[in-house]
Structures are given as structure tokens and as C-alpha cells.
């Protein structure tokens, strides 16, 4: 009779609708938080991919540069470009002659301007003596002004009236350009926000992850295969198993301490290098890979094993010819997830000196280098306003890499899955 009680039926239906609404609400909540996060990062970070430059006529006067023929690379490297850049800038504003005013005027340009001129002279030594139009970066404050990130008015503006007038004059004359900032994508770090680049950190992270993969992947598979297929269920293997599971939950900074004690102090490997960073990250990734591999080996159908054994294969052949290939999709997914996790780690790198100002883009894994999350940390800590957008832009870069790795995981999984089937 209860079944047909209309009131009860309606109550049950309501409960069901409510439950669905809760589900949708929680999904919406999660999605809106994610959207908000992405929106904040992208909206404050996209402008870092652009930078304001000034088109300036530079007279490449050898006497001003303090260089003499022959113009070899070494001679040109040692030239005095600071004064050359300043003279060219002063030439645009002939009315400015007082020392203090000139100093205020020179604040418009980045210290990177002289490097642009230097590199041009090195690449075009034949143009010495001529006047060339070069695009040089504006200083960070004026770059931020152009992007309207810093106020023009108010009690505590960072610019003097006359500086704003110069800036407006240049803008009216069409001398200011808004360009894609290649230096940000490919250059090394700098203390001047307008010159800072994420390239060094990207290369550093790439080296560290490569070392991590080369080490953790074979070791992880070997350990997992042995534990799952050969060791049997003894007290010792149970202890090892429990420890591996514990290791996966150890705070990552502990691995950094371990790295400091072993790789730096015992083996004397160089500080701040992606090689050591990779070693430390591989310690961290190893348990993840072992656990993922064991789970996927366990899920290989026993039929495959039995069939292979029935055909006369040895246990080793069974494992290497049949079980491991069948377990590959899960193993690879686990590995990529583990590496993605390692990509975002800062704490273990702190201990081995990778959290540092490193301006050179590393050429080998043995060169000092920062890593992506470290770069974000360092920029977030900096006082200069220009680093605010850089921090968000670096987050965009790391998110792009994480998405790429996750897509890779999906592709690899479907490809290997298809092969197995």
C-alpha cells in the first residue's frame, strides 16, 4: 500500500531532485572557483607577453662608444653604450640640459636599451658611424604606465609631471610601440622586470624533469615488477610495500633535505643544478610510479599470464613480453602524472639551492638553473611592481605545460591501449 502513497512518492521524487541539484551546485561551485582563478591569472598576466618599446635614432659614434678599429667582438663587447643611449635620448629633448632633469629623463629607458644597441653593433659592425633607428625597451615603470597598471594621478604617483609630459610627447609622436615580448619567453631572469624572461626556468625545468624521468621510470618499473611478480608475499616485501606507500605521503621538503645531505654533501655534486634537482624530484616521483605500475600490473588479466605460461614461456618472458606491455598504459599515465606533480614542486629545490637568482639560460643540466615554480616564487617576492604581471604570466606558462602533459597522458594512454588490444 505504501508504494502507492502519492505523498511518499512525491517526497522521494523531491529528495531525488534535491540531490541532483546539490550535485550540480557543487560542480558549479568548483567550476566557478576554477574560472575565477584562471581569470585572475590571465587578466593580470597576459600583458607580460607584451612590452613597450621606444623607437630611437642612435648615432653609432665610435668615439662615444669608446671603441677603436678593428671592431672585433671583444672590442665591441667592452664599448660604453650607456652614454651612447643617454646622448641619443637627450638629443630628442634638446631643451633638457640640467643634470637633475636629464637623470629624470633617463629613467624612461630600461638598462636593457644599451644591450639592444650593443647587440646591434656586434651584429652590424659595418654600421658604425651611421645613424640607425632602434627599438629599445622602456623602463618597467613606464611600461606599466603604458599598460595603465600604474596611476597617472593621485597623491603618491611614481612619476613627476615633466616625466609624464615627455612620455605623452613620445606617444603623440608615435615613437612608442607595443610589441610581443620574445625576451620574456626565451630570455633568462633579470632584476629589471621589463627584461626578465622565463626561458631559463623552462629549460631548467625541462632538464630536471628529463633527469627525473630517466632515473625514476626504469627504477620504478623494475621495483614494481619485482615486488608484484617475483618477490612473493613475505614479511619483508610487506614491509617494503608499506614503506613505499608511506614514502608517497612524505612532505616534499624532506626529499630536498635528503638531496642536500647525499647529493651535495656526500657526492659533492654542484649546487643549484637541474641534475641534482632531477635526482631529488626522482626520489619524490619514484613511489608514485611504483604504485601506479603495481596497480596496472595487477589489473592485467590472469588469462594472458596463464596462456603465456601454457605456451612454455619462462616467468621472465611472461613478464617482459606480455604483462609489462599490457600494463604500459597505466604505468605511463602514472609516470606523467608523477612528473606533472614534480614540475610544480618548489620545496625540495629550495634545499639544493635552485631557488636563486640565475640569469643565464642553462646550456647543460650541470649549469646552475632555476625552475618554473621557483621563478614564480622569486618574482612574487620581488618589490618591483612590474613583477606582478610577470608572476601571473609565469603561472600561465606553467599551467600550459601542465595541460600539455595531461593531454600527453591521455594520448599515450589511448595509443598504448589500442596497441594492447
Amino acid at each position: 500500500m505504501i508504494l502507492f502513497n502519492e505523498k511518499l512518492v512525491r517526497k522521494r521524487n523531491r529528495a531525488e531532485r534535491r540531490f541532483r541539484a546539490y550535485g550540480i551546485l557543487s560542480l558549479l561551485a568548483a567550476a566557478s572557483v576554477l574560472l575565477f582563478l584562471v581569470y585572475t591569472i590571465v587578466s593580470s598576466g597576459y600583458s607580460a607577453f607584451f612590452r613597450t618599446t621606444l623607437l630611437m635614432d642612435v648615432q653609432l659614434n665610435a668615439a662615444h662608444m669608446d671603441i677603436t678599429s678593428p671592431y672585433t667582438r671583444d672590442v665591441l663587447m667592452q664599448g660604453r653604450y650607456t652614454s651612447l643611449v643617454k646622448t641619443s635620448l637627450y638629443a630628442r629633448f634638446p631643451g633638457v640640459s640640467e643634470r637633475r632633469e636629464r637623470r629624470a629623463l633617463s629613467k624612461l629607458l630600461s638598462p636593457g636599451a644599451e644591450l639592444v644597441v650593443r647587440d646591434y653593433v656586434i651584429n652590424h659592425p659595418e654600421s658604425i658611424g651611421a645613424t640607425v633607428a632602434l627599438e629599445v625597451p622602456l623602463s618597467s615603470d613606464f611600461d606599466q604606465l603604458y599598460k595603465e597598471h600604474l596611476p597617472r594621478t593621485g597623491e603618491h604617483i611614481r612619476f613627476s609631471e615633466v616625466q609624464l609630459r615627455w612620455f605623452d610627447q613620445l606617444q603623440e609622436e608615435g615613437r612608442l610601440n607595443y610589441r610581443f615580448n620574445t625576451q620574456f619567453l626565451f630570455g633568462g631572469d633579470s632584476r629589471y622586470p621589463e627584461l626578465a624572461g622565463i626561458g631559463g626556468a623552462v629549460v631548467g625545468s625541462f632538464y630536471a624533469l628529463s633527469v627525473c624521468f630517466l632515473l625514476a621510470f626504469p627504477l620504478g618499473i623494475a621495483a614494481a615488477t619485482y615486488l608484484e611478480e617475483f618477490s612473493g608475499n613475505t614479511r619483508l616485501t610487506r614491509i617494503i610495500e608499506a614503506n613505499i606507500n608511506n614514502l608517497a605521503a612524505v612532505p616534499s621538503v624532506i626529499f630536498g633535505l635528503l638531496g642536500l645531505a647525499i647529493f651535495l654533501n656526500v657526492f659533492g655534486l654542484p649546487r643549484s643544478t637541474p641534475l641534482v634537482g632531477g635526482f631529488v624530484l626522482s626520489l619524490m616521483t619514484l613511489p608514485t610510479i611504483i604504485i601506479a605500475t603495481r596497480a596496472s600490473i595487477r589489473s592485467v588479466s590472469p588469462g594472458i599470464r596463464q596462456a603465456a605460461l601454457g605456451m612454455g614461456a619462462s616467468p621472465v618472458q611472461v613478464v617482459f613480453h606480455h604483462v609489462l606491455p599490457a600494463a604500459m598504459p597505466g604505468t605511463l599515465t602514472g609516470t606523467i602524472i608523477g612528473l606533472a606533480q614534480a614540475l610544480g614542486e618548489t620545496a625540495p629545490l629550495l634545499m639544493i639551492g635552485m631557488v636563486a637568482f640565475i640569469a643565464n639560460v642553462p646550456a647543460t643540466p650541470l649549469d646552475a638553473s632555476a625552475a618554473l615554480p621557483v621563478q614564480i616564487f622569486l618574482w612574487a617576492e620581488s618589490a618591483e611592481r612590474g613583477f606582478v604581471e610577470k608572476t601571473s604570466a609565469a603561472m600561465m606558462v606553467i599551467m600550459a605545460f601542465l595541460i600539455l602533459m595531461n593531454i600527453l597522458a591521455v594520448i599515450v594512454r589511448s595509443k598504448t591501449q589500442a596497441k594492447v588490444e
Binding site: 663587447m77 667592452q78 637623470r103 629613467k107 638598462p111 644591450l115 596611476p151 593621485g154 597623491e155 603618491h156 604617483i157 611614481r158 633568462g188 633579470s190 632584476r191 629589471y192 632515473l215 626504469p218 627504477l219 623494475a222 621495483a223 615488477t225 619485482y226 617475483f230 647529493f263 651535495l264 657526492f267 659533492g268 655534486l269 654542484p270 649546487r271 643549484s272 621472465v316 639551492g353 631557488v355 636563486a356 637568482f357 640565475i358 640569469a359 643565464n360 650541470l366 649549469d367 646552475a368 622569486l378 612574487a380 617576492e381 620581488s382 618589490a383 618591483e384 611592481r385
Partner: protein
């Protein structure tokens, strides 16, 4: 069974062997550690130095003054840093550690000044404080008032919340010696000198990280809270935060240079003399960091917020650094 064990052990053995034969490579890149206050200055010098193209850009690590000294005094050799930045002078205990570990000759360079600001959000009231009042507000051994007005009727009727830097930072060290020690009443000093420096643990003094940007954000969220910053940070963010006057003195370049602003201090870096001539570029880096171009009245470090030394001090410093004069205890 044994076959599979060797499968696992072989890569491990190869790895271990490979690491043992890797020699402690002689470095061609300078390593600098130490104070987070000196870090931006050191990094700017390093960048300019690297841009000249003769040497690689030195690696600058921000470890805090104490942490830097620990690494610096570990010994002499390629895997120890060449330079240690400090926002206070080397302590005698650190000197002893250095000597014990064979770091005998150290060149001490006081390259500029820094002032510490006691600041809050611009929305909040601007205070005039004395070191004594600051001590009373923050010290464990003090009266532990809940509100500023309990210290002095002229101060606002607001809860005391101060975000203090962590014990590893040089700013905290300097704060301890310039405020907590100087503002400490004799009655407490007599009993136990060290007790002066202990901060309250009842929520009035909140330990914040080394991240100044985060502290500014927290101050924006709570206009009645105060933070402790280096002058360069304040100077870069004057549109967001304001500094209290201390004993009636405003914080600015002049008052820091003549130390009339009570919370000002010199900044240092230390160079391992034994590494000069071994690690390429060390002497040139020392020269760059003490050049008039960098630390002079018009030097490029001034743009980054460094307060220059007086000219007399600069001249004698440049002479000493040029002659590689080593410090004594």
C-alpha cells in the same frame, strides 16, 4: 630470482658509481648566498657584471643572513659559496665557525645603508612612535597591551597587530637589535638581556614569511595591522603603504644616511679571500660591487632603493676592497 634482482640492482649500482666518479667540478660561476634584504642589490650587480660578457652571471641565493653565514662558513672549496650577503655584521659565533672550518681570510664590505620601516595601509592612521612604545607593544616581557591607546593616550584605539619577519631574516635581526634591544627598559635588561628580544606570543606579533608582497596584501586587508619592511620595499610601494615616524623622524634617504632615523643600519657582504684567483671573476665582482657606478650617490643601486654611504666612508671602503684587506675579529 637472482636474475631479476640484478636487473634492479644494476641501474642503481651504475648510478652510484657514476656519481662517485663525478669530481667536485671546479666552478666557473660565482655563488652568492645570504640576506633577503641584500639579495635584490646583489642580483642587480650580478646582472650588470654578467652583461659585460666576460664572466657568467653569478648565482644569487636568498637564504637569510644566518642561513648564508652557515653555508659560507662551511669551509673553503668549490662546493661552498664565495660571497655571503648580510643585513648585519658577522656575529662572533659565526666568525668562530668560519675560523674553525678553515675560512680564515674574510673581506668585509659595508656597501650601503638600509632603513627599516614600520608601516601600515594608507587607509589606516599614520602613527608617530618611539622605540620604547614599539617595545611595549611587542615584547613578551612588556605590559602586553591589547590596544595602542593603552600604551599612550595619543595613539589610536585599535587592536595591536604587527606582522613580523621570521627569525631567519636579517630584517628581524636588525629589528631585534635596533628596536627590541634599544627600547627595552633597564629593569628588564638587568635581569636578562636576551629576554628583551622575545616577542609576544598572544597574537599581537604575528610571524609572517619572508614574502614582503604577501605582507602588503595582508595589510591592505586589515588597515589596523602593521608590517616591518626594508626601506626599498616601502619606497616602491608608497602608494599602498605608509611608514610611521619614529621618535619624530621621517624615514627617508637623508635620515637613514646619518642614522638620525633610529631604525637604520649598514648592509654588508663578505668575500672568501681564499677563492680569489681560484673562482674566476670573484675579484672583478668585488670591484663591480664597490664601484662608484654601483654604490655612489648616482649609482644604479640607488634606483633599487639602496641608501648610499657617506662619501668619506665610500672612499675608505673602496680602498680597502681594492687592497683585499681582510677583517679581524
Amino acid at each position: 630470482m637472482s636474475f631479476s634482482i640484478s636487473r634492479i640492482l644494476t641501474p642503481a649500482c651504475v648510478l652510484a658509481a657514476a656519481m662517485q666518479v663525478t669530481p667536485a667540478v671546479a666552478r666557473d660561476q660565482l655563488q652568492v648566498v645570504g640576506s633577503s634584504t641584500v639579495y635584490p642589490f646583489s642580483a642587480i650587480v650580478a646582472e650588470r657584471f654578467g652583461n659585460r660578457g666576460k664572466f657568467k652571471t653569478p648565482v644569487i641565493e636568498s637564504t637569510g643572513t644566518g642561513g648564508g653565514m652557515k653555508l659560507f662558513c662551511q669551509g673553503v672549496g668549490a662546493n661552498t659559496p664565495d660571497v655571503s650577503n648580510a643585513s648585519r655584521a658577522m656575529k662572533s659565533s659565526e666568525w668562530d665557525t668560519c675560523q674553525k672550518n678553515g675560512v680564515k681570510d674574510i673581506i668585509e664590505v659595508a656597501f650601503g645603508n638600509d632603513g627599516i620601516a614600520f608601516a601600515n595601509d594608507r587607509k589606516g592612521p599614520r602613527l608617530n612612535l618611539t622605540r620604547k612604545q614599539l617595545w611595549m607593544a611587542l615584547a613578551e616581557k612588556g605590559p602586553k597591551p591589547q590596544k595602542w591607546s593603552e600604551i599612550d593616550a595619543s595613539l589610536p584605539d585599535a587592536k595591536i597587530t604587527v606582522l613580523v619577519p621570521p627569525p631567519t631574516s636579517g630584517t628581524r635581526d636588525a629589528w631585534n637589535s635596533l628596536v627590541m634591544k634599544k627600547g627595552c627598559p633597564d629593569s628588564v635588561k638587568k635581569v636578562d638581556k636576551k629576554a628583551c628580544k622575545i616577542l609576544r606570543e598572544d597574537g599581537a606579533a604575528v610571524e609572517a614569511g619572508e614574502n614582503d608582497a604577501l605582507i602588503v596584501q595582508k595589510l591592505e586587508a586589515d588597515p589596523s595591522a602593521f608590517g616591518i619592511f626594508g626601506f626599498s620595499y616601502l619606497d616602491n610601494n608608497r602608494d599602498r603603504i605608509q611608514a610611521a615616524t619614529i621618535e619624530g623622524v621621517e624615514i627617508n634617504i637623508d635620515s637613514i644616511q646619518d642614522y638620525s632615523y633610529p631604525i637604520s643600519r649598514p648592509l654588508f657582504f663578505y668575500v672568501k679571500k681564499a677563492h680569489i684567483g681560484i673562482v674566476p671573476g670573484l675579484q672583478e665582482f668585488l670591484a663591480e660591487f664597490t664601484a662608484e657606478d654601483a654604490i655612489g650617490d648616482d649609482g644604479y643601486l640607488m634606483d633599487a632603493g639602496l641608501v648610499p654611504l657617506s662619501e668619506v666612508k665610500r672612499v675608505s671602503l673602496q680602498k680597502e676592497a681594492g687592497g683585499l684587506t681582510v677583517m679581524s675579529k
